[in-house]
Each structure stands twice: as C-alpha cells, then as structure tokens.
C-alpha cells in the first residue's frame, strides 16, 4: 500500500499536471472513502470564454471517466458556478439532496506556456494558455463523512499552494523557452562569423588577414562551445 509520506526527489521540475496527480494520489490515501476526479478546460482568452465552453468540453485529468459523466449531467450548475466565481463548493451536512455523493469542488487555474518549436517560423513570443481545473471529491457511500471546516481549510490551502506552483512553473517555463530561442538565434550570426573566418584564412597573400581569420575561428569555436554548454541548463 502506498504511504502518503513516501516520495523521492525528482530529477527535473515536475509539470503542474504531474504535481497534481501526485497530490491526488496522496489525498486518496488520506481520505480512502473519497473518490477524486480532476476536470480541466483549456483555451485562450478570459475566464468568461472558458465558462461558456463548459458543456461537454471538460477533460478528465485524474480519476474515473464514469464520475466525469455523472458530474456533467447532475452537477453542471455547481461546476459552472465554481469556475465563474472561482470559489470552492463544499457539501454541508444540512444541505443537498439525501444521498448526494459530491463532497467538494475546488477550482484552480493552471497556466501553460506554449512550447517553443524550433522547426517552424514564429513571429510571436510564446503565449500562455489558461487551463481552469476542478478538483472534485466524491463520497463512496452516502454514509461516509463530508469534510469538516478544518479539512476544508486544508484543502483550500493545498489548492492555493498548487496555484502558486503553477505560477512559478509558468514563469520558469517562459524564460526557458525564451532562452532556447536566443540560443537558436545566436547560431545564425555565428555561422556568418565562422564563414568569414574561413574566407580570411584563405587569403594566402595576406598574412595579417590569415591571422585575423585564425583568431576569429578560435573565437567562434569558443562561442559554439559556450552555446553547447548553455544548452544543458535550459530545460526545466
């Protein structure tokens, strides 16, 4: 059985989605009577546009497909309201239909930077893509407990920490993409320098030009070496 405290240090920075899945795995251990699903809606533009995409546009990021369908058909008002107002929903003991299994819906925002693609021409800098997510908890049985106030605060804190992680990850990802672009773009003028050094080195009758060509050659080799070394530090 998995232990909530068992984890190993990752070699690379985990993506928000990976962190989310790990967190859900651990919460499943803490609350074994709860089924967890995470739903997401992706798109560019403002939150209102995303809310309009709600019907049938949700992706299942974690959990069982069956619960996604149930949520869409029976709880669309709650999920739409959570996204629109960016406020969590918690089931209270004295509210809801008898036997209601939905215990909580907590909205969160994820920002993904568009990946820099080397092979195509892009005029624009990488643009962010907003993804709104819903963390949903379902009781396995109507007699299972719902979340008390203290647990609700804990869950809100977890989601708030996750929001912060997404923001930092997005910043690092954006810078990483920009640096990769700079690195790529530097290699074109470096090619010009390398070729000019070759032309100068071929000036058999001009000793001075030959020496300058050799110096340029050495300098461009060093710059190429620096760019190669720079590469390993780019990917987050």
């Amino acid at each position: 059985m998995s232990d909530v405290n068992s984890h190993s240090e990752p070699d690379v920075l985990l993506s928000p989605l990976e962190v989310l899945k790990n967190t859900c795995d651990r919460m499943s251990v803490i609350w074994p009577f709860m089924e967890i699903t995470v739903l997401g809606v992706a798109g560019r533009g403002g939150l209102s546009e995303l809310v309009n995409k709600m019907s049938g546009q949700l992706d299942l990021l974690y959990g069982h497909e069956e619960l996604k369908e149930r949520q869409l058909s029976d709880y669309s008002d709650i999920t739409a309201s959570c996204i629109k107002e960016h406020r969590p929903f918690f089931q209270h003991a004295d509210s809801g239909e008898p036997g209601d299994l939905l215990a909580a819906v907590i909205p969160f925002k994820m920002h993904y930077a568009r990946k820099y693609e080397e092979s195509c021409y892009e005029n624009d800098a990488p643009k962010s893509q907003i993804q709104v997510g819903l963390l949903c908890f379902w009781r396995n049985d109507k007699d299972d407990p719902i979340f008390d106030k203290r647990t609700q605060d804990t869950l809100n804190l977890i989601v708030s920490q996750f929001d912060s992680y997404c923001m930092v990850y997005n910043m690092l990802d954006t810078y990483s993409n920009l640096l990769q672009k700079f690195r790529h773009d530097l290699r074109t003028p470096l090619t010009s320098v390398t070729m000019i050094s070759g032309l100068l080195e071929q000036q058999a009758s001009d000793k001075e030009a030959q020496e300058m060509g050799q110096m340029l050659h050495t300098a461009s080799d060093k710059m190429d070496g620096l760019l190669k070394a720079f590469k390993s530090g780019l990917d987050i």
């Binding site: 080397e118 092979s119 195509c120 021409y121 005029n123 790529h184 773009d185 290699r187 074109t188 003028p189 470096l190 090619t191 010009s192 320098v193 390398t194 070729m195 000019i196 050094s197 070759g198 032309l199 071929q202 461009s220 190429d224």
Partner: protein
C-alpha cells in the same frame, strides 16, 4: 550549361555571404529572405540546387520543401537544409532532403556539401 542555385535564409548577412562564397562563372545565384513563393521561384529559375533555412518566413522551410518535393516536376532538384535545430538530421530525412548543414557550419563544410550536390 549554367548552374542555378536558390538560397533561402532570413538573416541577410548570412544570405549575402553564401551568395559571395558560391558565386563563380557559369553559375546563377538567387537569394530570398522569405519562402512562400518557392513554387513560382522554382518555375521561373529551374534551379539545380536549393539551400533552405528551416526557420524562415512566411511558411517555414519545412513546408516550402514539402511543396517542392510534392511536385513530380521538381522532386529531382537537390535540396540542402540548414538550421540550428538539434533535430535537423531527422527533419532532413523526413522531408526527403538531399543533405543538411547544422549551424554553425564552416566554410569548408559548406563548399564541400554544395559542390557534392552540384556534381551529382
């Protein structure tokens, strides 16, 4: 018979440098900093060789070469891709390009690669 080379590169310094290096008697060099009109360029100049940068406006070198290779009339034209892209060898294979030059390449390598495909 005159040889014709079309060079596509959006860095004007490198474009001009390639032209200077390859210019010789009996050879026509045409340079372009955009590639969206590649099919009409090919129809106009009937090149023996195309040198294509991957990252170039407006449609990108990859698409431009696909357009050339899709046409049976043009698929005999030798194509050399150049790019700083780490995947250039794979991209070159996928596109059916005849050769590639990974930036930064040097003068000797550049000349040797071009001459090899002009001789062929």
């Amino acid at each position: 018979m005159e040889q014709c080379i079309l060079i596509y590169e959006d860095d004007r310094d490198l474009l001009e440098l390639c032209k200077i290096i390859l210019t010789s008697p009996g050879r026509i060099i045409k340079t372009f900093s955009r590639c969206e009109n590649i099919i009409s360029d090919v129809e106009q100049f009937h090149p023996d060789l195309i040198l294509m940068d991957l990252w170039i406006p407006e449609i990108g070198g990859k698409r431009a070469i696909e357009l050339v290779k899709e046409d049976k009339e043009n698929d005999h034209i030798a194509v050399i891709l150049f790019s700083a892209n780490a995947e250039i060898e794979q991209i070159s294979d996928d596109l059916g390009a005849d050769d590639f030059l990974k930036k930064p390449f040097d003068l000797m390598n550049f000349r040797k690669t071009v001459e090899k495909h002009l001789c062929n």
